[in-house]
Amino acid sequence: MRDEEWRLSPAVALRPEPFGAMAYHFGNRKLTFLKRPELVRVVQYLQDSETVRQALSQAGVPESQWPAYIGALRSLAATDMIRPSEGQDQ
């Protein structure tokens, strides 16, 4: 995942909350909470990053914590909150 290009799903809206954000998927109606402001930043930076790695470093996540953040991103991917950028694999 680290070197891939990912994006927030077009059907997902992020709502800022005191602890981070709430993500809602209008398509599958799943609701997810991003419990840390850093994770919210990572997800937002995905939009303009060519790789997940780039988004992580832009968001200021120390490299030692990347595995934990990749794990969080994978669970977001499992419910289609984020998805691989179109055009990368095609």
Partner: protein, 411 residues
């Protein structure tokens, strides 16, 4: 020491979601909006004592303004109910207006207006979810509380939705003493209609206060519900309403937390905002959407909601070994049975509720009632069942004054 603060005193950084939710959110996660007090039925346990329309109910324009505000606040979906929301002439317009403004809708209905044409419309509209109320897996058990013919109406609606290709409707069941033995049958009915079962807890709210003693599940039935939910948990929705059962063992899926005024609230047909759908009473009234600051100000700044999000005391419950799993249970259930809010839930599975119910208590007077005074007999639920067999006049009398003057007489 009954005034021990039982929740964190300040919003933590990180931590569990429940810890965060206790301090509230910028907008509700899930909002219930009752569009009208009018209803074709007269269910004996109606949470909102519905029946007659209130002349002050929000107009179409006012409802649209509420939807606009929900969109601005990013409230992504609302649960619409009533009364029976589909009897409002502008219901279908408001439904479309909401989904066009990124406010998804789940609406609760008894099915009266879900004919083939409406089922087809619903099947073709994204972001709409339909919940059909059914409180018995047989007409006998359902109609006992919901009124004659209501079982057939609900089943017909489910059939119409299925035939129209509507995916994943919800069958919404309030679990009572009378239907607790039918949980498997409810699941089967849901499965047969390509629907998902949703079980919720009977609350002593609205007219429910008058029948709670007769309808609420008995202590041993609470265990049945818990076991059934543990066995079927992932395939059944509960609206997180059974968190008072958590002290039986492992926590049930979902938030084990009272969300009133923290993550949920209710807008009633006249625009009044209450802490939760089960708390339509002036004690839990936070404001009105027609006030200058609109819904946003009520949600974010009302004195009541601020208080509900501040550290709570839970009295004697804090000393209970299971406090972390149930957190004192349901505020509305305590309030409407006349129990103190900082004490145990009336259905506390450790038995503390029964002791509290047996003591002195004052049930609050309802602060609104839209029940119809004179409902045609054929439309009323009949909670006293008439015997279909002739009484056996030769049987021994059940009491001295019940002896039949014809006893012993054999024509």
């Amino acid at each position: 020491m009954t005034d021990v603060i039982s929740t964190p005193v300040a919003r933590p950084t990180g931590g569990s979601l429940v810890d965060q939710f206790e301090f509230g959110l910028d907008a509700p996660i899930c909002l219930t909006w009752e569009l009208t007090y009018a209803c074709n039925l007269a269910c004996v346990h109606c949470l909102s004592s519905s029946g007659r329309r209130d002349p002050r109910e929000l107009t179409t324009e006012q409802c649209e303004a509420v939807i606009d505000e929900l969109q601005r606040m990013q409230v992504f979906y609302v649960n619409i109910g009533g009364g029976e929301p589909t009897v409002r002439p502008d219901f279908w317009h408001l439904l479309q207006y909401a989904v066009d403004h990124q406010v998804g809708v789940k609406f609760s209905t008894n099915g009266i207006r879900i004919d083939k044409e409406k089922a087809a419309f619903l099947a073709s509209t994204p972001y709409v979810d339909v919940q059909i109320s059914l409180d018995g897996a047989t007409a006998e058990v359902n109609d006992y509380v919901r009124g004659p013919g209501s079982y057939d109406t609900a089943i017909r609606a489910l059939k119409n939705l299925k035939e129209a290709g509507f995916k994943d409707a919800k069958v919404s069941v309030v679990v009572t003493r009378q239907n607790v033995g039918q949980l498997d049958d409810f699941k089967r009915i849901a499965d047969e209609h390509g629907a998902t079962l949703r079980l919720t807890r009977l609350r002593p709210s609205g007219r429910g206060a008058d029948v709670w003693d007769e309808l609420h599940p008995l202590p041993e039935q609470q265990r049945t519900i818990y076991n059934w939910l543990i066995a079927n948990g992932d395939n059944v929705l509960t609206g997180d309403s059974f968190f008072h059962l958590a002290p039986f063992g492992e926590s049930l899926p979902g938030l084990n937390l009272c969300g009133a005024g923290r993550v949920v609230c209710l807008i009633d047909p006249v625009g009044d905002v209450y802490a939760c759908p089960f708390a339509i009473h002036e004690t839990f009234l936070a404001g009105n959407v027609l006030n200058e600051g609109g819904f946003k100000e009520v949600w974010q700044e009302s004195a009541l909601f601020t208080e509900l999000r501040s550290p709570q005391t839970s009295g004697a419950c804090t000393k209970c070994a299971f406090f972390d799993s149930c957190r004192g249970g349901c505020m509305a259930a305590k309030f409407f049975t006349g129990l103190p809010l900082d004490g145990p839930d009336p259905e506390c599975v450790q038995g503390h509720g029964e002791a509290a119910l047996a003591g002195d208590r004052n049930r609050p007077q309802p602060s609104q009632d839209h029940s119809r005074a004179a409902l045609p007999k054929r439309a009323q639920p009949v909670m006293v069942q008439l015997s279909l067999t002739r009484p056996d006049i030769t049987a021994p009398p059940v009491s001295a004054c019940a002896a039949s003057p014809l006893a012993g007489f054999q024509p």
